[in-house]
């Protein structure tokens, strides 16, 4: 009955809206026929990329009366072709949790009290002005491209401070270092078109049925059209993906390195490697003095000798994968006619040898020549909607500048200073603190050398997502001089601990641009207003910069003494976009993007003008202008006929090779044991990860009833044999302990996933059950990405734990 009243109310609201808003699709602005209006029920539709993962689906957003009322898959989107996953279909509900943050809050005497925006901006600016070097900016792969760009310019081009790093450090940094050390330049050369063409898809520690459902269904739905595609799941636990797989290879954590070496061993031993491809396109590389991004040159004989020990038998001993299955994999790569796509995500990236395993999987494809054809190549997947577009391309990492530039190189600094029109020498040549280091420096008391005292967090939730929270997040909260500023949309583990909370606009409440896993840059327009006093992250950064400029901060001035950021109307007059009431007078996103575009041609990552993205459902870079004025995207990089930068007659040309001879690197990369392994005291492997229903820390998806009720709490998956041995019943609360912390949560036997005997799995979405109190903060020495996927744990039933 309540429901009926509710429907009546919404229908009335609809009628009002229909009367007041006779404007159709955003882009064309045509008046809409009243008959059509009746049929569309007053709903206007406009495109936007989905807010959640890195797949980069487009949705159609249905709005009415200034509110999102429905979502549809976008049929014109090449990524998802009209389909979405359950998170995507419910993305519009993410805006409407009743506890949205709507006013700035300042902690006074331990209580967060409302303050004005003017006061909030002033507090931040005063702290930064007083100690610019002690300020750090912690951003996100959910930053839009312009949000990341303005933060990047503020820090490196303004304050001369490189302490800016994104949460993407925690999810894809190892993929970046894998690409750079193999090809000399970041980001996948291939694209999702592979999924429609591959004969074999190999998943390296990846569960796309839950994490990238659209890409997964794009693969498996081919079977219902009568196509054959062999799916091979190389994993450490059975998942929904496994249920669709033809082969499941269960390996011991970290031993993926041995499997990849084992495949290469067999290709070498049996002479089935692609000599022609390797001769033409590959060099050999080695780390003689320990982990290093670029290593040193070596030769074929050294490479071959290193592989000798990885016999199928030895690989079986290390990995637990039967020798016959290692031979099966090698047999596939030995067949030049098969098209083989490798996919990976967190399993390979959150790895203390993340760079190493990334190099090895590229190596398997290069050595076998399974590279550069549609359906035939390695492709890494990202977890955040703009980990590629913002973190990687804008380069909001502690060592990077936009467009593939780095702060360590003088020429790169000069180029950036010129584009930004700032004095020579403004950009600091020393890389800033990467994520783990940044939070260590913030946690460390100032007297003991903890030189970060003000930390500004945008669009992410480190109080839940950082590893080993008791070391990296909690300590600063006890120290009076450490000031944490957090911009977010809902109360989170991080906002609750913050000294200053800034309420943010999200998704279609603001203009934005994202870049997905296949180099696809996407654009959307603001479609509704944010609630209360919530404001865009981009505006927040701009307003802080302006306040700093007013305080006389030299860094906020360009070479000519003018404010670092200038926005103009059509007549060329400056618009005070730092004032909230004027922020949407001009398209700030467009103007920042056009400035940023100048960087993108420096390393062949060319982006098209903003207006091209308005019309498209994303375009894959490099996007280059054709003689007829059209802009053309690139599906396959380094491949002649696809990539405009490959010279005629080269076939395949790795034109950013670290050896300057157009070749990719085949790395000597031995298996190395993980830093912490199960032992007598902590006999189980602990793995952490995600579930279909929730996106990362659950801030948004836990507020969507359909998703929350389907998966309202975290749990620990326990193998049936372990449960029997330990006397644990299904659903019974147990305590999981590591050397860093403990957590009580219900055991689930044969649940969503099925870990092998001797290992357990806990998802990290539940803010009440923080598994990151337990995880290890050890990281890959090259990418600095922590390993959330393996540490030693023990488990005790609650009755024994005595709690």
């Amino acid at each position: 009955m309540e429901r009926r009243e509710f429907i009546k109310m919404t229908a009335m609201a609809a009628a009002t809206a229909a009367a007041s808003r006779i404007v159709g699709a955003h882009a064309d602005g045509d008046a809409v026929d009243p008959d059509v209006m009746a049929q569309t029920r007053g709903v206007s539709w406009d495109k936007a990329p989905c807010r959640f993962c890195g797949t980069g689906c487009h949705v159609q957003v249905g709005t009415r009366g200034g509110r999102v009322v429905a979502i549809a898959g976008d049929r014109l989107a090449p990524v998802n072709k009209g389909l979405l996953c359950v998170k995507g279909y419910h993305v519009g509900l993410a805006l409407y949790g009743r506890d949205r943050l709507t006013t700035p809050l300042l902690k006074r005497d331990g209580v967060q009290v409302p303050i004005s925006w003017d006061e909030a901006i002033d507090i931040v600016a005063q702290r930064v002005h007083r100690n610019p070097a002690g300020f750090a900016f912690y951003g996100s792969g959910q930053w839009t491209i312009p949000e990341g760009y303005i933060a990047q310019k503020m820090m490196k081009g303004g304050l001369g401070n490189n302490h800016i790093d994104p949460n993407a450090r925690l999810c894809m940094a190892s993929a970046v270092t894998g690409f750079i050390s193999t090809y000399g330049v970041d980001e996948p050369a291939s694209c999702y078109d592979d999924l429609d063409a591959a004969d074999v898809v190999i998943l390296w520690g990846n569960n796309p049925a839950e994490m990238h459902p659209i890409l997964f269904s794009r693969i498996v739905d081919r079977r219902s059209r009568g196509e054959e595609v062999v799916l091979i799941d190389i994993g450490t636990r059975r998942t929904r993906t496994t249920a669709f797989a033809d082969h499941y290879l269960e390996f011991n954590p970290q031993s993926d390195m041995a499997i990849a070496n084992g495949i290469m061993h067999l290709l070498m031993r049996e002479g089935t490697w692609n000599e022609e491809f390797v001769e033409a396109h590959c060099n050999f590389r080695l780390e003689p003095d320990g982990p290093s991004l670029k290593g040193e040159a070596t030769d074929f004989d050294t490479f071959k000798a290193h592989l000798e020990e990885y016999t199928p038998k030895r690989v079986e001993a290390i990995s637990g994968v039967p020798a016959s299955q290692v031979r099966m994999l090698a047999g596939l790569f030995a067949d030049p006619d098969l098209k083989i796509t490798s996919l990976w995500c967190m399993g390979m990236n959150q790895h203390t040898r993340g760079t190493g395993i990334n190099r090895l999987v590229h190596g398997v494809h290069l050595l076998s020549g399974h590279w550069g054809r549609e359906g035939d190549g390695p492709q890494s997947l990202t977890g955040q909607p703009s980990a590629c577009g913002t973190a990687r391309e804008v380069g909001t990492l502690a060592h990077a500048l936009p467009g593939g530039r780095v702060v360590m190189k003088e020429a790169h600094r000069r180029q950036s200073e010129e584009i930004w029109n700032v004095p020579e020498g403004r950009i600091n040549a020393t890389p800033g603190y990467h994520t783990v280091k940044m939070w260590e420096q913030f946690s460390q008391p100032t007297a003991d050398g903890g030189d970060i005292d003000t930390l500004y967090v945008q669009v992410t939730n480190p109080g839940q997502s950082l590893p080993n929270l008791n070391r990296l997040f909690n300590p600063s909260r006890e120290q009076a001089d450490k000031f944490l500023i957090v911009s977010d949309v809902y109360p989170t583990a991080t906002t609750r601990a913050a000294d200053l909370v800034l309420p943010a606009a999200m998704w279609v409440e603001k203009n934005g641009m994202f870049g997905n896993s296949e180099r696809r840059t996407q654009q959307w327009f603001k479609q509704i207003d944010p609630p209360g006093q919530a404001r865009d992250d981009l505006w927040q950064t701009l307003a802080i910069c302006r306040r700093l400029f007013e305080l006389g901060n030299e860094g906020m001035k360009d070479k000519d003494g003018r404010f670092l950021f200038r926005f103009e109307d059509e007549a060329g007059n400056e618009v005070p976009s730092w004032r909230w009431d004027r922020f949407y007078d001009v398209n700030v996103d467009e103007q920042l993007f056009e400035e940023y575009r100048r960087f993108t041609t420096l390393k062949h990552k060319d982006l098209a003008p903003y207006s091209e993205y308005v019309a498209a459902r994303g375009m894959r870079w490099p996007v280059t202008e054709q003689p007829d004025g059209r802009w053309k995207e690139t599906r396959y990089r380094f491949v002649e006929g696809e990539d405009p930068y490959v010279e005629e007659g080269k076939g395949i040309q790795f034109y950013h090779s670290i050896t300057d001879d157009d070749k990719a690197m085949l790395w000597v990369q031995p298996y190395e044991a993980p830093p912490e392994m199960p032992d007598e005291d902590f006999p189980l492997w602990l793995c952490t990860g995600r579930v279909l229903e929730h996106w990362h820390t659950g801030t948004m998806t836990m507020r969507i009833p359909q998703l929350r009720r389907a998966m309202p709490q975290a749990y620990v998956e326990v193998n049936r044999n372990d449960a029997r041995r330990l006397g644990i019943r299904d659903g019974e609360p147990v305590v999981v302990e590591t050397r860093r912390g403990q957590l009580e949560l219900p055991a689930w036997i044969d649940g969503r996933g099925k870990p092998p005997e001797g290992s357990v799995f806990i998802p990290f979405f539940d803010e009440r059950l923080l598994v990151n109190d337990l995880t290890l903060h050890d990281f890959c020495p090259i990418s600095k990405e922590p390993d959330y996927k393996k540490c030693a744990a023990r488990i005790v039933p609650r009755r024994e734990a005595g709690s």
Binding site: T10, D28, G73, Y96, G97, R98, A209, S217, R223
Partner: protein
């Protein structure tokens, strides 16, 4: 549709139940007791079917690969043919009453975030195994008076990526925090189509993307939304689609009139 259509005698009935239990590789239970007022998510109270271990229809994980997927599904479907035979025939003149219609619209709304959202699943599913949703939903069937609707979109096999069960799989265990309140106001059910004059065939008032099979909602299992002329198969011949709902690309074509 083929399959035996004898009156369900006790043996027949037992076989049918057995067939359903076999599918419990994916569906733990399907036999519905008296229908209580649906909860949010439209979850009906379900008595788990007796699991019969020696039925060879549902292979275990270890048997994966031995039997091709399609073949497995085919065998399930064959076992369920008799349940399909229970779907009432559709004859002209048996359209839904206004009350039935209202009840159905309300129940549909319980199972969807907004009109057009993928419905939630009103029965338990296996969390991990290959989803055998198609066994029942490929053609639809009736079990003890309860209908399983026909899938309205073809070729999509990762069913659980869109359709979730709005119930805690660990219900009653662990300590679940109270729900967050949501202020989302959904797009309501489309209601009637547009009629040019009294008696004219109404237009289709909703998008037809992913709703390729009209009988999924308007067939004889469609309760309150069932058509009054079920014998007819070619729905679009009388009921026009609404282009503005179908995301068809609009092009700026030059006008032919000067």
């Amino acid at each position: 549709m083929t399959g035996p259509s004898t009156e369900p005698g006790s043996e027949r009935r037992w076989l049918q139940m057995l067939a359903v239990a076999a599918v419990s590789g994916a569906l733990i239970g399907f036999i519905v007791e008296t229908r209580h007022a649906p909860e949010p998510g439209g979850f009906a109270e379900v008595r788990p079917a007796q699991h019969i271990a020696d039925v060879p229809l549902a292979p275990t994980q270890d048997g994966m690969g031995a039997l091709r997927r399609a073949a497995r599904v085919e065998r399930h479907v064959a076992g369920l043919a008799s349940l399909r035979a229970q779907i009432p025939a559709m004859a002209d003149g048996e359209g839904a009453t206004a009350d039935e219609r209202r009840a159905t619209v309300e129940e549909r709304a319980m199972r969807r975030a907004y009109d057009g959202a993928p419905p939630t699943v009103p029965h338990p599913v296996d969390q991990l195994d290959y989803p055998s949703c198609v066994a029942c939903h490929a053609e639809g069937l009736m079990v003890e008076g309860r209908g399983a609707a026909v899938i309205s979109h073809e070729g999509l096999t990762s069913c659980l990526q869109c359709h979730v069960v709005m119930r805690d799989p660990l219900e009653g265990r662990g300590d679940v925090a109270p729900d967050f309140e949501s202020d989302f106001r959904p797009l309501e059910s489309a209601g009637h189509g547009h009629t040019a004059w009294a008696g004219a065939p109404p237009t289709i008032p909703h998008p037809t993307t992913m709703r390729e099979r009209c009988d999924s909602c308007h067939g004889s299992l469609g309760e309150g939304l069932r058509t009054r002329h079920g014998g007819r198969q070619s729905c679009d011949q009388c009921h026009a689609r609404t282009s503005s709902l179908d995301q068809r690309p609009r092009m700026d074509l030059p006008s032919l009139i000067p």
